[in-house]
């Protein structure tokens, strides 16, 4: 834990003022202790040096996806970046590339979210009536769960899209985030939307556009391997072409519990009610 030593670090932050159309680098000197992350540094700068620095953050625990920036050249989450672990006396911070800059380190995610939407990121089923009025769960075995869930940790932080070399030459490229999420739903045993998603991903701006630079997987803070997801997606598309299979049947609804099911041992019954029905209080709402 905190050893109390303070190291003075210079933060070189790339700034942009949309009202003047001006870009510049600004330096802030910040006393950094062990344990301080870049989000802590933002808060220090805002409170002590310059409240006008525009930055994004929220959860400060690596799960909301707000705080992606480029730190010393690498797309990273600010909240997960321990400053002293970077090992440099000067830390450069820039907005994520491949997105329009709004102000300072804040970039516009509109296009990124739209691409995610294009891959239909939700379970598609033919039993729509069951889907909206469920009786029980669809079956999913633990191994089926494990295979799918490794691709489902995406926090939509956009680092992969910033690291990818393709958007610079094809701005319509769906990108690693959207393609990996398409794959996540296509391998979900409950899903039946193969056909609909193939139309989106098997395209000029879809998975064939990927150069397999692997930059996305190198920066993903949640350990998803979007590059592998895209490779597997290609393999899936090829084997579908070869086999002529275009559809996939989703897993069934689980049957009721077997009749021999017994109560768990040690579960205590609730105490008997101590208010008779006729004595139960009524809520008074004045319409």
């Amino acid at each position: 834990m905190s050893k109390g030593e303070v190291k003075n670090i210079t933060f070189r932050i790339k700034r942009y003022d949309p009202e003047k159309g001006k870009t510049w680098w600004q330096e802030y000197k910040v006393p950094v202790r062990r344990g301080m992350t870049l989000v802590d540094v933002y808060l220090y700068i805002k409170e002590n040096l310059d409240p006008s620095l525009a930055v994004r953050y929220s959860c400060r625990m690596g799960i909301c996806g707000s705080c992606g920036v480029v730190i010393n050249g690498k797309p990273s989450l600010a909240c997960e970046t321990q400053i002293l672990e970077l090992g440099t006396d000067v830390v450069t911070v820039e907005p994520l590339p491949n997105y329009p800059v709004v102000r300072d380190l804040v970039v516009d995610f509109t296009g990124f979210f739209e691409k995610h939407r294009m891959v239909k990121p939700y379970l598609i089923r033919r039993d729509v009536e069951e889907q909206e009025n469920p009786t029980r769960e669809y079956r999913m075995l633990p191994e089926e769960y494990d295979y799918m869930v490794q691709f489902s940790y995406c926090i939509k932080c956009g680092l992969c899209y910033a690291a990818c070399p393709v958007p610079a030459i094809d701005s319509k490229f769906l990108g690693p985030q959207a393609l990996a999420q398409a794959f996540r739903y296509m391998i979900d045993v409950r899903d039946e939307g193969l056909k609909e998603r193939v139309l989106v991903v098997d395209s000029e701006h879809g998975c064939w556009r990927c150069h397999f630079a692997d930059a996305c997987s190198a920066v993903c803070p949640k350990g998803i391997d979007p590059a592998q997801g895209i490779q597997l997606l290609r393999r899936m598309l090829i084997s579908m072409r070869l086999s002529g299979v275009k559809e996939k049947k989703g897993s069934p609804v689980m049957p009721p519990m077997p009749p021999e099911t017994k109560p768990k041992p040690g579960v205590k019954a609730p105490p008997p009610r101590t208010v008779k029905p006729e004595e139960a209080m009524k809520r008074i709402v004045k319409e």
Binding site: S66, T261, A269
Partner: protein
Amino acid sequence: MEEFSHDVLVLGTGIAGLRAAVEVKRRFGDKVDVALFSKLHIMRSHSVCAEGGTAAVLYPEEGDSFELHAWDTVKGADFLADQDAVFKFVQLMPKEIYLLEHWGMPWSRRPDGRIAQRPFGGHSYPRATFAADKTGFFEMQTLYDKLQQYDNWERYDEWFITSIIVEDGEFRGITVIDITNGDMYLVRGKAAIIALGGGGRVFGFSTYSLTVTGDAIGLAYRAGLPVEDMEFIQFHPTGLIPSGILISEAARGEGGYLRNKNGERFMKKYAPERMELAPRDVVSRAMMTEIIEGRGFKGPNGLDYLHLDLTHLGEEHINERLPFIRNLAMKFAGVDPVEEPIPVRPVAHYTMGGIRVDLDGRVLDVDDKPIRGLWAAGEAAAVSVHGANRLGTNSTAECLAWGGVTGYQAGQYALNKKDLPPKPAEKAEMEEKRIFDSLLKRESGSITAYEIRRELGATMDKYVYVFREEEGLKKALSKILELKEKFKDISPSDKHRAYNQELVHILETQFLLDVAEIAASGALRRTESRGAHYRWDYPKRDDENWLKHTVAFLGPDGHPQFTYRPVIITAWKPVERKY
């Protein structure tokens, strides 16, 4: 000021807000259009931080029942929950679990492919339905992704709501700033759902995201609406030292121990039957007693702590069930829970109180008359399911349950209502003047919003924490009033329109000050100990005088006024609470 309108405005996009929006869309399709407002990107709300699970009765064949879930919740609440609401809640939950499952939620599974559940504090049956230890994150993902299926909804990412306008008992609209360019709008709607979360950042040591600033409570209170039971703030037993990051109760649900500096599992003294899985208020008091009596470890900045020991669980089990906890402990405390115990201490975690609503989540006025066209759901609302102490896994559950209820109700209301309510032109103009003419154009004041927040957090941490007493609460209140006074001449030094975060932080600080004042005043008045509200000077529960909800509303002097309402008791009279 420019204006536009939608049928239903969803204010806040955590689990409750997203669930509400999905409900409107799946029930009413293109007949009702929905707008979602968030001061963040709409999928980044604090709900993503929920870890442990969501309570629901899924296996009656194995001994669970609605009656048992209801009893656990009522007892957990120290009998301050409204029991009619609790029964409605437990009955709504199983369907919510299956709906999310059918939309793509990766609930963790049993070997046969059914949904798995695990034990949680205060629950008599292991009914915490979970997705590893990222339950809230996956619920947000599932709801956000599901919403992508529909048309005719609009998202307003990074729009900050500055006021909710209610006139003549009817919702009229909101004033809201598009943070990206600084433009302010009047947005009118037939109906609105307030789902803007709790107020936990009034505390310095807090599990909450940095952006949870009591917006719901502040906005409702300033609109003249009553808020309920705000003195009941949950302190989660296991906040990571020094950041306050949440270490899920699932760590204890999976078998983790709490130990003091002598290595003792001290919970045997406080809750011999339930041990580490007693409700959170009980465990937090036990921990603070250990620390105060000198059996804690010395921590940084006065954050003395205890140990959460998972080392006996084994690496494989930790990786399968608690991977995020391991990751958080390693990243933010430099501790690998497989090898050594995690340093933890009670931390501000949840706002049991909220906007006073009826069973359908309709917002009530001071006389308990429903406001037409206005609902509230999730942590922002007090239905009240949680009373004086919420059980773990009942919050994400409540968000789903009343997200669904209010979405349906608001959608139906909007569908039946032909015209928009009258335009609240005067109030909207006043709000524009308040922000752009007075606040933004003022010379910079003697204090910044950041200084106020720091002082406020330190004050609340010290005096309105796990143990409270009259003298401390009075000190807290006088400090809050002093900060409110200083706030009056605050002004942003950043005068830009585009992405002016300082302006947003100032407006949030106003909400925080309101929340703190209401909570501290309510706590000072409540001369008993119940659930999460413990008074050293009044250590017993006092059903004769205090089995009632605190209701606070904005008085003409700018400070809260108080009234009280009965607790709805339909099944169990209060009894002594032992674990």
